[in-house]
C-alpha cells in the first residue's frame, strides 16, 4: 500500500465533487480522505499503484456535470499512518487564494423529481442540491459558505440540517439547501395591490395572466424578468412599451426541447447548449417565420429552456402556452432590476403582476446568449451560467484591474494567474450601467479579496471605462496602462487558447481607437501578448459625423461611393429617394471639408455601407442592425466571388465597383449580399495567407464584433484551414467588446512580467 496526494484543480468546489470522490473511493474500497484546498480539492489515497491509476482515470467520469477539471496532479508521499476508512475532511479556513466560484446552475432532473416525492419539498420552488441551484448570484464572500450568501437569512430546519450533514445525501454541504419549512418563498402582488403567498395560487395566477395576454414581472436568479405570451402580438407590444425597447429582438423560453425543435432548426450543438446546465439563450434558425413582433423579421430567434422550478410549473399550469417572452426587467439602457422595492416602483404601474421572493440577489446577472459559429456555440453575451468562471493566463495577473471598453462592457480582475471576467454590463455612457459596473466591481473585489496593483484601460480617451480607470488609479495611486483596442481583442484570444509567442491577429471590428489617432477596425496585426505591429488594414473610409455615421449606415454608403467616384457617384435611385439629395450633398461637403469626419478602417462600417446601398437598413435602431440584416439578405444565395486583386487583396474598390454594377443591372440584391460576404471573406483570407508566408507565422487569432456574422466567420474559418493555417476563434471569451477586458489584462500581465525580468 502506498499513499498518494491527488490534487484536482478547476471548478470542483460547491458543485458536489467531494461526495462523488467519497462514493468512488468507498465503492473501490479505498481509504484516505478528501478536502477542499485553495484552488481545488486534495485527495489523500491509500492504494496500490494499480488502484490509484484506476481511481484517477475514473475521476473525470464520476465528476458532476458542472465541475471542470483543469488538472490532476498525482504525487506519491511517505505513508506515516494508516487510514481505516474514507472521509470527507471538514473545510479548513481558507486563505484568500480561492478563485473558483461556481456560476448559477439550472435546476437538475433529480431535484425536479424530489419536488414530487420529498414531503418537505413538495412543489418547493427553491429546491436545489450540490449539482444545481443559485451560486454566483447569492455569493457575497469566500470561502463559499451559507453564512456569506444571501441564504444566511434563512435558518436550516432539522431535516435540511441532517441532509446537509449526511455524506451520502445529494445535499451534503449544499450551501443554499432549503425546503418548504425553512427556505425562501414567492410573493405575488397584483395591480390592485393585493398580495398572495400560496405558491400554487401564485403559479396559477401567473399562468392565467400570461394566457390572457398580460405582462408579468418575475424575479429570476440574476434579476427581474418581464414575461408574456410570445405568440400574442398585443402582449409583446405591451411588454416592449414597459421596457422601452421597440425593435430589438426578444428572447423566448420554450416549454420544452420538443416544442422548441418544432419551431427551430436545432443543430446537435445547439441542442447541447440549450439543454446544458448553463441554460443560455441560444440564437437558432427558425423553420418558418411568423412572429415578426419577436425578432424584427430575422430568421433567427433567441431561445432558452426553463431553468428554475417556477418556469416548469408555469408551463404545467398553462398547457396552452407554447413559449413565453423572457427578457430582462429594466427600462432599456438601465441594468436589470434586482431590488424588490425598485421592481415595485418601476413595474407596479405598468404590468399586471409583480412576483418576487424574499431572498436577496447579491450579484446582478442577465441571461447569457450563445450562437453557433464554426460548429461550436460561443458566447455573445456572457453572464448567468458563465460568470465568474476564470480563465487561465500564462503570466501572473495578480492585482490587475482591466476596465474594458464602452458599449458592450465588462471588466476583469486578476488573481494569481487567473482572469476573472465580470458579467456583461451594458453601455457605460448610461449612468445606470456605470452604477452596475461600479457595484459589480466592488463585489468582485470583496468576493475574491482583490487587492489592486495596477489598472489597464483602452487607448480611447473618452470611454467612460477609461475615465473611471483613470480616476480609480489616481485615487489608489496605482499605475495606469493603456492597451490598443485590437491588440486587446487579439490578446484575449491568445489568453483563451494559452498561445505564447507571436501570432497573426485578424480583427474585424466596428470601432477602436488606433495608436495614430484614426479609427481602426479591419486590421491584420502581427502580435505577441506584449507587442504588436499593424501589418495591413482595410482602406480608410471617412466617417461623416463620427459616431452618427455608425448609427446611420446611409452616411457610410455615401462615404464609400464618394471615396471611389467623387461627386458623380452612381448612387442607386431608390437610395437617393429614401435619403434625399440635400442630405447627401451636405454629407459630401462634410467629407470634402473633413468636418467632424474622422477616418475609419472599421470592417463594420463597410458592412453598414453595403447594407444601406442594398436598401436593408439606412439607420441602425439598435447596434449592428444593418450588418445583421445584410447577412440575412444573403441567406440561401449562391456562392459567387467578385474579382479582387491578388497582390493587394484589401483594395475594396473592385468589390465596390462590382456591387454597384450589379445593383444597377438589377441583379437580385440577395445575390449581391451573398457575393459580398463570400468575396470579403476571400479577400481577407488572401491577405492573411500572403502575410503568413511573409511573416512565417501560421497561427491566426480572430476577434472583433464583426465576427458575430456567422456567414462571414464560417467561411473565413474554412478558407483559413484550407490554406493550411491554424485559425483560433474564441469560444469562452466573447469576440465582441465584452472580451476586451480579458485582452487588456493579458497584455498588462505580459508587460509586468517583462519588466520584472529586466530587473
Amino acid at each position: 500500500m502506498n499513499h498518494y496526494h491527488i490534487h484536482v484543480r478547476g471548478l470542483v468546489q460547491g458543485v458536489g465533487f467531494r461526495p462523488c470522490i467519497y462514493r468512488l473511493a468507498t465503492e473501490m474500497g479505498l481509504h484516505g480522505y478528501v478536502e477542499n484546498s485553495n484552488d481545488g480539492v486534495l485527495i489523500v489515497l491509500q492504494a496500490t499503484d494499480e488502484e490509484k491509476e484506476h481511481f484517477v482515470q475514473a475521476l473525470p467520469l464520476v465528476a458532476p456535470a458542472v465541475a471542470t477539471i483543469e488538472r490532476i496532479d498525482v504525487e506519491e508521499c511517505p505513508a506515516n499512518c494508516t487510514y481505516d476508512r474514507f472521509e470527507i475532511a471538514s473545510s479548513r479556513s481558507e486563505g484568500d487564494e480561492i478563485t473558483r466560484v461556481s456560476p448559477d446552475i439550472a435546476i437538475c432532473p433529480e431535484c425536479l423529481q424530489d419536488r414530487r416525492r420529498q414531503p418537505h419539498r413538495k412543489d418547493y420552488p427553491f429546491i436545489n442540491c450540490t449539482h444545481c441551484g443559485p451560486r454566483f448570484t447569492i455569493i457575497q464572500a469566500l470561502p463559499y459558505d451559507r453564512a456569506v450568501t444571501t441564504m444566511s437569512d434563512f435558518a436550516l430546519c432539522d431535516t435540511c440540517r441532517s441532509e446537509y450533514a449526511d455524506v451520502t445525501d445529494r445535499r451534503f454541504h449544499a450551501q443554499p439547501i432549503a425546503c418548504n419549512r425553512c427556505g425562501p418563498a414567492y410573493t405575488l402582488c397584483d395591480s390592485g395591490g393585493a398580495r398572495e403567498h400560496d405558491y400554487r395560487h401564485i403559479v396559477s395566477r401567473i399562468a392565467s395572466v400570461l394566457t390572457g395576454g398580460g405582462v408579468v414581472a418575475l424575479k429570476s436568479l440574476g434579476g427581474y424578468n418581464l414575461l408574456c405570451d410570445a405568440d400574442n402580438e398585443q402582449a409583446v407590444t405591451r411588454l416592449r412599451e414597459v421596457k422601452g425597447r421597440y425593435a430589438k429582438p426578444l428572447a423566448v423560453m420554450y416549454r420544452d426541447e420538443a416544442t422548441a425543435a418544432a419551431d427551430l432548426d436545432l443543430t446537435d450543438e445547439e441542442r447541447r447548449a440549450l439543454t446544458s446546465w448553463r441554460r443560455p439563450i441560444v440564437l437558432s434558425h427558425e423553420r418558418a417565420r411568423h412572429a415578426r413582433w419577436l425578432n424584427d423579421g430575422y430568421h433567427s430567434l433567441g431561445v432558452l429552456l426553463p431553468y428554475m422550478a417556477i418556469h416548469y410549473d408555469l408551463f404545467e399550469a398553462a398547457p396552452s402556452l407554447r413559449r413565453i417572452v423572457v427578457t430582462s426587467g429594466n427600462r432599456s439602457g438601465n441594468p436589470i432590476v434586482i431590488a424588490d422595492g425598485e421592481a415595485h416602483d418601476l413595474f407596479d404601474p405598468q404590468v399586471d403582476l409583480v412576483v418576487s421572493y424574499n431572498r436577496e440577489i447579491y450579484n446582478r446577472v442577465d441571461d447569457s446568449v450563445v450562437c453557433e459559429y464554426d460548429g461550436l456555440c460561443r458566447p455573445v453575451r456572457r453572464a448567468r451560467g458563465y460568470t465568474p468562471e476564470p480563465l487561465h493566463n500564462l503570466q501572473s495577473t495578480e492585482g490587475i484591474v482591466a476596465v474594458g471598453a464602452e458599449q458592450v462592457s465588462s471588466f476583469a480582475v486578476g488573481k494569481h494567474d487567473d482572469i476573472l471576467l465580470s458579467q456583461y454590463v451594458g453601455e457605460l455612457s448610461r449612468r445606470g450601467n456605470l452604477g452596475f459596473f461600479e457595484e459589480s466591481f466592488s463585489h468582485f473585489a470583496r468576493i475574491f479579496r482583490f487587492r489592486p496593483r495596477c489598472v489597464v484601460c483602452d487607448l480611447h480617451p473618452d470611454y467612460a471605462a477609461t475615465v473611471w480607470g483613470e480616476r480609480y488609479a489616481a485615487e489608489h495611486q496605482l499605475p495606469l496602462y493603456r492597451v490598443q483596442h485590437h491588440h486587446a481583442h487579439a490578446a484575449a484570444v491568445m489568453a483563451e487558447y494559452d498561445l505564447a509567442g507571436e501570432v497573426l491577429a485578424l480583427c474585424l471590428d466596428g470601432t477602436g481607437y488606433g495608436d495614430d489617432c484614426t479609427i481602426w477596425g479591419g486590421e491584420l496585426l502581427r502580435c505577441s501578448r506584449s507587442r504588436y505591429t499593424r501589418l495591413s488594414h482595410q482602406p480608410y473610409l471617412p466617417m461623416p459625423g463620427g459616431d452618427v455615421a455608425a448609427r446611420e449606415p446611409w452616411r457610410m454608403a455615401v462615404s464609400l461611393l464618394y471615396s471611389l467616384y467623387g461627386e458623380s457617384m452612381p448612387l442607386p435611385h431608390d437610395f437617393v429617394e429614401r435619403i434625399g439629395a440635400d442630405r447627401i450633398r451636405l454629407v459630401c461637403r462634410m467629407i470634402a471639408r473633413r468636418i467632424n469626419t474622422p477616418l475609419s478602417s472599421g470592417a463594420g462600417r463597410l458592412f453598414d455601407a453595403v447594407a444601406s446601398l442594398l436598401g436593408v437598413a439606412d439607420f441602425n435602431r439598435y447596434q449592428a442592425e444593418a450588418p445583421q440584416k445584410l447577412e440575412q439578405l444573403a441567406e440561401g444565395s449562391a456562392e459567387r466571388l467578385y474579382p479582387f486583386d491578388p497582390d493587394n487583396p484589401l483594395d475594396i474598390s473592385w468589390l465596390v465597383v462590382a456591387v454597384v454594377d450589379e445593383l444597377n443591372r438589377g441583379i437580385p440584391r440577395s445575390e449581391i449580399a451573398g457575393a459580398f460576404h463570400a468575396t470579403y471573406a476571400a479577400m481577407w483570407c488572401a491577405e492573411v495567407v500572403r502575410q503568413a508566408a511573409q511573416q512565417k507565422l501560421s497561427r491566426v487569432v480572430l476577434s472583433g464584433g464583426v465576427l458575430q456574422n456567422k456567414r462571414l466567420v464560417d467561411r473565413l474559418m474554412n478558407l483559413l484551414r484550407q490554406a493550411g493555417l491554424q485559425p483560433y476563434l474564441p469560444a469562452v471569451v466573447p469576440c465582441n467588446d465584452a472580451g476586451i477586458a480579458v485582452g487588456q489584462m493579458a497584455v498588462a500581465a505580459a508587460w509586468l512580467e517583462e519588466r520584472e525580468r529586466k530587473r
Binding site: R331, R430, R431, G432, A550, L586, G705
Partner: protein
C-alpha cells in the same frame, strides 16, 4: 500641442503648465476672471484672446466677440464691467477696411455694454504667421460688496438656468467657415449680457454662480463646475433650449449641441426658490427671451454631470478630451 477643443486636454494643459507656474490665490479661484481685494472694494480682472475664423459671420464679427466675451467674463464674477484693453495681432496684407469694420464693431459693442476701451497695442506679423487678425482683450470691473459668486457657493438644491438657446454660435461659425448652406442661416448670438446680470443681481436675493459656457459648450463648463464644487448636476434633456435649425444642423454634422461653443448665453446657479423670479427677470431682456430652467444640483457626493433622457435613461455627460471621437463599435 493638440489641446484646442476646450475639453479635458485643455484643462490638463492649464493645470500642468500655467497654474503651477503662476500659482497664487487669485488664480486658484479657477473662474472666468479673478476677483481681487482692493481697499474698500473688490476688483474683477480678466483676459481673453480671440482667434476666430472666419472673421465675419452671421450675427457678428471678431470685434463683437472680443468685447462681449471679456465683458461677459467680468459679469460672471459679479462685477460691473468698466474698462477694457485691446491688443491686436495683424497679418501683413490685411485689408484696412476689414480692420476698420472690426474696430467699429468693437466701439459699438463697448457702448452697448457700457465699458470704455482705455488702452491697447498693435503688432503686425509677416504674411502667413497669423490668420488675418487676432485680438486680445482684458477687462476690469468692480464687484459690489454684497456679491459673492464662486464655486464654493454652488450647492445641492441649486437650480441651473441658461439664459438662451444653446449651440447657435458654434454652429454659425462652423457652417459659415465650411460653406454649409443649411436651409436656415444660423446666426451667432454674441452679445454682452450686462443688463441681464445687473437686473438679476438687483432683483433676486442670492446668486451662487455665473458662467459663460464658451469653448467646449455647456457640457464642459458644467463639468468644470461639478468638479470644482464636488457636486452632481442633473439636466433634463427635454428642457434644453435648442432651436430647430441648430438641432437639425447638429444632427447632420454629428455634433452634440451640449459640446458646441456658445457666446451670448450664461449659466446661472441659484437657490431653487428664486428660480421663477430669476427667469422672469431674465426673460424681460431681449437677449434672455429663451431662458430656461434646465436642471438642478442634485447631489454633493460625486462630481458628475448627468442628462436625463426621455425614456428613463440617464446619460453621463463627460468632459471630452478634445474632439468628439467615435466610440460606437
Amino acid at each position: 500641442l493638440a489641446h484646442g477643443g476646450g475639453g479635458r486636454m485643455t484643462n490638463r494643459l492649464i493645470e500642468s503648465i500655467f497654474y503651477p507656474a503662476f500659482a497664487n490665490q487669485w488664480l486658484e479661484q479657477a473662474h472666468d476672471g479673478a476677483t481681487l481685494p482692493m481697499p474698500h472694494s473688490r476688483l474683477a480682472f480678466t483676459t481673453d484672446s480671440f482667434v476666430v475664423s472666419p472673421l465675419f459671420f452671421p450675427g457678428g464679427n471678431i470685434g463683437d466677440l472680443a468685447v462681449n466675451g471679456t465683458v461677459n467674463d467680468l459679469l460672471c464674477c459679479g462685477a460691473t464691467p468698466l474698462y477694457l484693453s485691446a491688443a491686436f495681432i495683424l497679418e501683413e496684407g490685411l485689408p484696412l477696411d476689414t480692420l476698420r469694420q472690426v474696430v467699429q464693431a468693437m466701439r459699438e459693442a463697448a457702448t452697448r455694454a457700457g465699458v470704455s476701451i482705455v488702452t491697447g497695442d498693435t503688432k503686425v506679423v509677416e504674411h502667413g504667421k497669423c490668420d488675418g487678425l487676432y485680438i486680445n482683450t482684458s477687462g476690469i470691473g468692480l464687484v459690489p460688496g454684497n456679491i459673492e459668486i464662486g464655486l464654493h457657493r454652488v450647492q445641492k438644491g441649486d437650480a441651473v438656468i441658461v439664459t438662451g438657446p444653446i449651440g447657435n454660435h458654434g454652429v454659425s461659425i462652423l457652417s459659415t467657415r465650411e460653406g454649409l448652406n443649411f436651409e436656415t442661416t444660423i446666426e451667432s448670438d454674441t452679445a454682452a449680457l450686462t443688463h441681464i446680470v445687473s437686473n438679476l443681481l438687483a432683483g433676486v436675493p442670492d446668486v451662487h454662480m455665473l458662467r459663460d459656457p464658451t469653448r467646449g459648450g455647456l457640457s464642459s463648463t458644467l463639468n468644470e463646475i461639478a468638479e470644482g464644487a464636488g457636486v452632481t448636476i442633473t439636466l433634463d434633456e427635454q428642457s434644453l433650449p435648442i432651436e430647430p435649425p441648430v438641432r437639425a444642423a447638429c444632427d447632420l454634422l454629428g455634433l452634440d449641441p451640449l459640446y458646441v461653443a456658445n457666446e451670448g448665453i450664461l449659466l446661472i446657479f441659484l437657490p431653487d426658490e428664486h428660480a421663477e423670479q430669476a427667469l422672469h427677470i431674465i426673460r424681460n431682456d431681449p437677449h434672455g427671451k429663451g431662458a430656461r430652467l434646465i436642471g438642478h444640483v442634485t447631489d454633493d457626493r460625486r462630481p458628475e454631470v448627468l442628462l436625463e433622457l426621455a425614456l428613463g435613461q440617464t446619460r453621463v455627460l463627460d468632459m471630452l478630451s478634445g474632439e468628439q471621437l467615435p466610440r460606437i463599435c
